[in-house]
């Protein structure tokens, strides 16, 4: 059960939009921006508030890779594994991050909730391949060494 404040915040987010099926995605985006993930309880709550079925809301939320039902770390690292990045060795970058952070294809977020590592199909920055993003910042021409150095830097920042 989520704290009451989550629902109050969600009410506030819903009030920014028309109470209608078409507002589902922007509402989900705002909730995710607020909490860095989409709490399942809130998805059910939103569905009810805007008059769609829970199954429909779940359908939309699982269709888009961008929505996550699991809490994410403070730093969300998106390693691009699109064609251009892949051929320019994005996999070693990803593996270095997994090793450094103790993560795996099954576990995306560190236990201290600092880092989440995920792959994306294309960041639209193929010229900078292999590229990766940490939250909203793009890091070009990555190597495993640069990736590990970046983690250390972020750890120092806290």
């Amino acid at each position: 059960m989520l704290d009451e404040s989550y629902y109050r915040k969600t009410d506030e987010i819903i009030s920014r939009y028309i109470r209608d099926a078409r507002s589902l995605i922007p509402i989900m985006q705002d909730i995710q921006a607020e909490y860095r993930y989409l709490p399942p309880e809130l998805l059910s709550y939103v569905a009810k508030q805007i008059g769609i079925t829970e199954a429909k809301a779940y359908s939309v939320a699982t269709f888009y890779e961008n929505f996550s039902f699991e809490a994410k770390g403070k730093y969300v690292i998106k390693v691009c594994d699109g064609t251009a990045c892949h051929v320019r060795h994005s996999t070693p970058v990803l593996k270095a991050l997994w090793k450094e952070l103790g993560l795996s294809p099954k576990q995306h977020t560190t236990e201290d909730m600092m880092f989440t590592v995920e792959t994306v199909s294309c960041l639209g920055a193929c010229g900078l391949a292999p590229a990766m993003m940490v939250n909203d910042q793009v890091y070009p021409a990555m190597t495993p060494e640069k990736a590990v150095a970046l983690i250390e830097e972020l750890r120092r920042k806290g």
Binding site: A47, T53, E54, A55, K56, S59, T62, F63
Partner: protein, 563 residues
């Protein structure tokens, strides 16, 4: 309006919404998996693709007809195209056909055969997914799902419940309740309409046949069957009897052959329902409280109200459904050693309905601490058991039901069609029982396949406003209009399945929906026509019930007690 040329033959069309319906009107069968005329067009399976004279291929289900169109439905190119689609579907499909409940009735299986697919070229890489047995009504096997979306659309559009949806995407796409919950953890009302439209074995009836076989084998158990009205007009078809023919006598005989000790007709308690419900109705009208009275015969509807309109719970009639009344009476009657002869009593209820399975397991389905209905079998399971026991209804002579509960009225029989309960109530409340009175009631607007019917009848100087709805999406509309104050009804009859119990989730699904509804409804009214006793209150067993053995237990046996 216009003409299109199909395979070189001119076919006229009027207001058909898509090319596919014109093709079918012309008597040409084009395969489909995701097309259901009563649902929105989805256009996912692409099997109905046809070719025009310029070589353009398009799905005929989602193409509007235009005057002068020239199309071909079975060219070599289309045959190849269809074959490949089916092969690809089979590639990600469980192939345990021999043990599948849909065996012989599966559209995918039929199409694979028709298109000469003898081997499946592609390996199945789909991850094995667990089968969900959690619902007492339906079993969901995602490994057999072809993502046609029929179940999702029927649940949303016809039933307005929306338990199912697509989840994930690409090769991981699946049909699932929200958060991949089990069916029993959703607001599913167990109507089984999803199973009716499922072209494969992904959604099937939750079977209870083995429990019944087991009981039949036990010499210390008295196994009793009650058979609902809608079963008799749907069961015969599987044995070569004409569609919609009343096969009640044959069912009784078949059940006796299988070893049932007694066979009764649920119309008997349908009559009791009418007695109790009309009494309750007049009582509420007199007091002016808890109106509109909502019927309680349909468990999917009752569950729907509990889930979505709890404020109307008090309006639901306290009467148990005919199934639950009958089982309670049977258990009570045979509780007496003078009647039981020392045997255990096992009540099997044979229903057109999957929701009855859920109803039988409700906490209020117990009387004096004992479960009333032991097992609910659907018509589909009854056919399978008849087959397994070598009972062929076609050649079976008819037998009458057993006593002391073997008589029902015509009013009880028509419970199986939408408007039937209302018509039986009107018969009960009418003074006369002559042909003219009955005809006038039948013509009052209670009959017919419209989803929402409104009737106003004068009674004791007041106008009684009645609404009859079938399909829960329609029921929702009705409740919303009552809630907003737009409508004032005294009595609302709802059957969850569109068309009523004859179209229940436990019924066979051969042929088209329209055809099934028409023949079965006609069959029920014909069965009513043959009955001497048309009014529930004139059933001679009513007097017996109220004035002898059960005299002091009427409320305990016939009503739900928590209020």
């Amino acid at each position: 309006m216009g003409t299109i040329t199909i395979n070189g033959k001119k076919v006229e069309f009027t207001n058909e919404k898509n090319v596919l319906s014109i093709i079918r009107k012309a008597g040409i069968e084009v395969p489909t998996l995701c097309y259901q005329p009563e649902l929105s067009v989805f256009g996912a399976c692409r099997l109905c693709t046809v070719e025009d004279d310029r070589g353009r291929c398009f799905a005929s289900c989602s193409e509007e007809p235009r005057d002068g169109m020239v199309i071909y439905t079975h060219t070599e190119r289309l045959r190849k195209h269809r074959k490949l689609i089916i092969e690809l579907l089979l590639a990600a499909h469980c192939r345990d056909c021999t043990t599948c409940d849909k065996h012989g009735k599966c559209t995918l299986q039929k199409l694979a055969y028709q298109h000469g697919i003898n081997t499946v070229r592609f390996a199945n890489h789909r991850e094995e997914m667990p089968v969900d047995f959690s619902s007492p009504a339906v079993v969901r096997d995602p490994g057999k799902c072809i993502l046609c979306g029929n179940c999702i659309r029927v649940c949303n559009e016809i039933q307005g419940v929306g338990v199912l949806g697509f989840a994930h995407r690409g090769t991981e796409a699946m049909v699932s309740p929200a958060f991949e919950r089990k069916m029993s953890e959703t607001n599913c009302v167990a109507c089984g309409q999803c199973r009716v439209v499922c072209p494969t074995g992904a959604l099937t009836i939750h079977h209870n046949m083995s429990e019944v076989w087991h009981a039949l084998l036990d010499p210390d158990t008295r196994v009793i069957a009650q058979v609902a009205p809608a079963v008799r007009v749907a069961v015969g078809e599987a044995f070569g009897l004409p569609k919609g023919e009343n096969a009640m006598g044959k069912i009784v005989a078949g059940l006796h052959r299988m070893g049932f000790d007694e066979v009764f007709d649920t119309t008997y308690t349908a009559d009791l329902t009418i007695m109790e419900e009309s009494k309750e109705f007049l009582d509420r009208v007199g007091k002016g409280e808890k109106l509109p009275l909502l019927t309680s015969c349909c468990p999917a509807w009752v569950k729907f109200v509990e889930n979505e309109y709890p404020e109307f719970k008090k309006n639901i009639s306290t009467c148990r459904s005919p199934q639950q009344m009958f089982s309670a009476i049977l258990k009570e009657y045979y509780r007496d050693p003078a009647h039981s002869g020392g045997k255990k009593t096992f009540v099997v209820s044979i229903m057109p309905c999957t929701a009855k399975k859920m109803e039988a397991a409700r906490p209020d389905a117990y009387t004096y601490g004992e479960k009333d209905t032991d097992i609910v079998l659907t018509t589909h399971e009854l056919i399978r058991m008849f087959d397994a026991h070598g009972v062929n209804l076609e050649t079976m002579p008819s037998e009458a039901c057993d006593m002391p509960f073997g008589i029902g009225s015509g009013g009880g029989v028509i419970f199986g069609a939408t408007g039937g309960v209302t018509e039986a109530v009107l018969r009960r409340l009418a003074d006369g029982h002559d042909a003219a009175t009955l005809k006038a009631i039948a013509a009052s607007g209670v009959r017919g396949d419209q989803g929402i019917k409104e009737i106003t009848v004068p009674y004791n100087g007041m106008d009684v406003n009645i609404c009859v709805a079938s399909g829960l999406a329609n029921a929702r509309k009705v409740l919303e209009s009552v809630k907003s104050g737009e409508k004032q009804y005294h009595f609302i009859e709802v059957m969850a399945c569109p068309g009523g119990c004859v179209m229940g989730g436990g019924q066979p699904t051969d042929g088209t929906r329209v055809q099934r509804a028409k023949t079965r409804t006609r069959g029920l009214y014909a069965a009513d026509g043959e009955m001497v006793i048309k009014k529930s209150n004139e059933n001679p067993l009513m007097d017996v019930f109220y004035n002898s053995y059960f005299k002091d237990k009427v409320h305990d046996l016939l009503h739900n007690h928590q209020d």
